[in-house]
């Protein structure tokens, strides 16, 4: 056994490009190795390693009982996970695609989210529900939904979504360790994004619920998360030419919501745009804009704007580029922040 310091040293030496998918897989593996109560279950998670290969190798290493190919039934998977958690296990459920999690909504909303409350704290359910979500991968219908607003609207659930390789590892470890149920949204179009990250190096496992400033700036704040983070980072770079120095806040956790970090940023910059790819109407952006307005009204130089997907069913893959908010739409919104009161 090496000391922590020595191990950390080795790890830095070994750092090489790793994908978000690898980081997620590593997080599952480390969690299972550390705690025998952690069980992975879902469709095709065993021999195949999941359709995105996130669970690759887990069944081999830990056996079919720890990483289980279930019958094809989402309510059954999540419902069984409820019973497993009631008996002291920590199930991690994989939903194959965002829109295929809908059959399990009844279990999620009526039981997973409520069991702690219903039993006055006697029976918490430490379940992690991993949901690959969002578009941009050319998926056909039912393979690109952004369902975060449904989950956010359900008290009792934590809703988190990483945008970086490090966060994919850290947040998933934190989610599995959480005594509350977590809906862990995986931005599937970032699965193959890379970072210099040694899979052996445990990045800081942050408590769920903290946003982070990814790029400091002075003239406006872009508030975003998950798949839209790279879009916002790119927009911020492009905006420099226009004389804008944009700050980018990555929420990482939608529930709980980090009002502090967001409000502090907007108070500094006086302007804000919320960017996400799920539909705008009834979407997360409305909630976020309202919270920012309530906290920062006197600091605001312009209304809080939203850049979101259209209010349409997720379009077919050959059309999705029109739906997904890209750099130009973000920059357009930034331009509109030069708000002049109507006379």
């Amino acid at each position: 056994m090496t000391t922590a310091a020595a191990t950390a040293g080795e790890r830095t030496a070994k750092a090489k490009p790793a994908t978000m998918a690898q980081a997620l897989g590593r997080a599952l593996r480390d969690a299972m190795a550390q705690d025998p109560a952690v069980h992975v279950l879902g469709e095709d998670v065993g021999t195949l390693g999941g359709v995105f290969r996130i669970t690759d190798g887990l069944a081999k290493e830990f056996g079919d009982d720890r990483c289980t190919d279930t019958p094809l039934a989402e309510a059954g998977i999540l419902g069984a996970a409820v019973g497993m958690a009631m008996y002291g296990l920590r199930p991690v459920v994989e939903m194959q695609f965002d829109a295929f999690a809908y059959p399990a909504f009844e279990q999620l909303i009526s039981h997973v989210a409520k069991m702690r409350n219903r039993t006055a704290g006697a029976m918490p359910l430490p379940i992690t529900v991993r949901v690959p979500y969002g578009g941009g991968i050319g998926g056909v219908e039912h393979h690109s939904d952004s369902s975060e607003a449904y989950y956010m609207a359900t008290p009792g659930l934590h809703v988190v979504t990483p945008a970086t390789v490090e966060d994919a590892y850290g947040l998933l470890r934190a989610s599995i360790a959480s005594d509350d149920p977590v809906v862990f949204l995986e931005p599937k179009r970032l699965y193959w994004s890379k970072a210099d990250w040694s899979p052996e190096a445990p990045v800081a496992v942050e408590p769920i619920g903290r946003a982070v400033v990814r790029r400091p700036g002075r003239s406006a704040t872009l508030i975003t998360y998950g798949p839209s983070l790279p879009v916002c980072m790119e927009a911020a770079e492009a905006a420099v030419e226009e004389g804008w120095d944009l700050e980018v806040v990555d929420l990482r956790s939608l529930v709980p919501f980090d009002d502090e970090t967001v409000a502090a940023s907007v108070r500094r910059t006086g302007r804000a745009v919320v960017v996400h790819e799920s539909s705008g109407f009834g979407g997360p952006g409305g909630e976020i804009a309202a919270r920012v307005t309530e906290r920062c009204f006197h600091h605001l130089e312009a209304p809080v704007l939203r850049v979101a997907g259209f209010d349409i069913p997720y379009p077919p893959p050959m059309q999705e580029k029109h739906h997904l908010p890209g750099v130009d739409r973000v920059l357009d919104a930034v331009a509109r922040l030069q708000w002049e009161a109507e006379s």
Binding site: H39, D65, T70, P71, A73, A75, G76, L78, G79, A80, A81, V82, G83, M84, A85, M86, Y87, G88, L89, P91, P103, E106, Q107, S110, H111, K114, M115, R116, N117, R118, T119, A120, G121, A122, M123, P124, P155, G156, H158, S178, D179, D180, G209, V255, P256, F257, D259, E260
Partner: protein
């Protein structure tokens, strides 16, 4: 038209699909055509007299509990009560067949099973009184929360039983559901999971004839609900749900089978709901008196009482004793239910997450201010 007449058919030689073989032999899984009975048959000779007397006392108490809880709705002490009068044999057998380490997964109608398993009679009613969603700690009695959405507790039972087996514990889960609930997707998914995982689960369907107003014939086209088991690869058993000895025996065998690694069983108990769906329902709109009367002649308490008195195991004194014990339980229940529950509104925020979020802390503080202001107002009006 025969195959030979088809153009080019002469060259066609049908072959069976490659490697076809059935996964399971269906024959031993099929339920008997008649519901299994013990009382009034030769099988009763093997029944343990002590068990029969215990079942009798519990049935009498259960019926009194149903009557008392229904009366409490009339006094406004309970928001609603789904009575299980007529179904006591199923309720009690389900509770008594389990060992202490086993788990019971009741539906919303199964208050009686929970109480017979040892749950405090008042705690079993807090959901229906409306002060708490679940008044008890499920782990204490190994009774899952009384479940309102239909059939959703069934996959929980499967998951729990599966987890117990993985841990090496010989724990069995018994899950209860109504005839209507068998149409829900969760029923199907739970049975399928249980059979594939060979989970130690027993599913007990109380077929009481109706789902609110909808009769069984509009719920299923299967020969019986027990037949549904065969398609999943588990045995289906049909039992007279008003025969406490028969239900106890059939469930007992299913539990023993599950415990010894034999996998799940689906038991359909054929019974009848004597009262309306709940106190709020008008059963005369969907069923006729003659049907109710026919079932009254097959009352679970009466048929057990006849058996016991006929064999000299129970006399007037014993009957009186059972009724007196039931009265004492009812009086105590009445008294405790007549006391107003003490509620703390701040509890609303206490058990949403392990750690309160900033949002909830803020909202709790706002409610605190409202409550303090209300109290100030009351104090002023009362001249304090």
């Amino acid at each position: 038209m025969t195959v030979q007449e088809l153009p080019g058919a002469a060259a066609y030689r049908p072959t069976p699909p490659p490697a076809w073989k059935p996964l399971t032999d269906p024959a031993p899984l099929l339920p008997d055509p008649e519901p299994y009975r013990v009382l009034g048959t030769d099988a009763v000779a093997d029944a343990d007299p002590e068990l029969l007397l215990r079942l009798y006392a519990e049935l009498v108490r259960g019926r009194r509990y149903n009557a008392q809880a229904t009366a409490l709705t009339k006094q406004g002490r309970l928001a609603v009560y789904p009575s299980s009068t007529g179904q006591e044999a199923c309720e009690i057998a389900a509770a008594l067949v389990l060992e202490e380490r086993d788990w019971l997964f009741p539906s919303y109608r199964d208050t009686l099973a929970a109480v017979a398993r040892g749950l405090d009679p008042v705690e079993a009613l807090t959901l229906l009184r409306g002060d708490r969603h679940t008044g008890y700690d499920p782990r204490e009695h190994r009774i899952a929360p009384l479940c309102t959405p239909l059939a959703t507790q069934l996959p929980h039972a499967v998951g729990l039983a599966h987890a117990a087996r993985l841990k090496g514990d010989d724990v069995v889960a018994l899950a209860m559901v109504g005839d209507g609930g068998t149409s829900e997707g969760d029923f199907h998914e739970a049975l399928n999971f249980a059979a594939v995982w060979r989970a130690p689960v027993v599913f007990l369907v109380q077929n009481n004839g109706f789902a609110i107003s909808v009769p069984l014939a509009k719920q299923t086209a299967a020969p019986s609900l027990a037949h549904k088991a065969v398609g999943y690869g588990m045995p289906g058993r049909l039992v007279d749900g008003n025969d406490a000895a028969a239900v106890h025996q059939v469930l007992g065998e299913a539990v023993a089978r599950a415990r010894s690694g034999g996998g799940p069983t689906l038991v359909e108990a054929v019974t009848y709901r004597m009262d309306a769906h709940t106190n709020a329902d008008d059963a005369t709109r969907y069923r006729v008196d003659s049907e109710v009367e026919a079932w009254r002649a097959h009352d679970p308490i009466q048929i057990l009482e006849r058996e016991l008195t006929g064999r000299g195991l129970l006399g007037d004194e014993g009957i009186e004793e059972a009724r007196a014990a039931a009265e004492r339980m009812a009086a105590a229940l009445r008294e405790r239910m007549n006391a107003d529950p003490v509620l703390d509104p701040m509890d609303l925020f206490a058990h949403v997450y392990a750690e309160q979020t900033a949002q909830l802390r803020e909202q709790a503080a706002r409610l605190r201010v409202e409550l303090d202001a209300e109290h100030g107002q009351d104090d002023m009006e009362e001249g304090r």
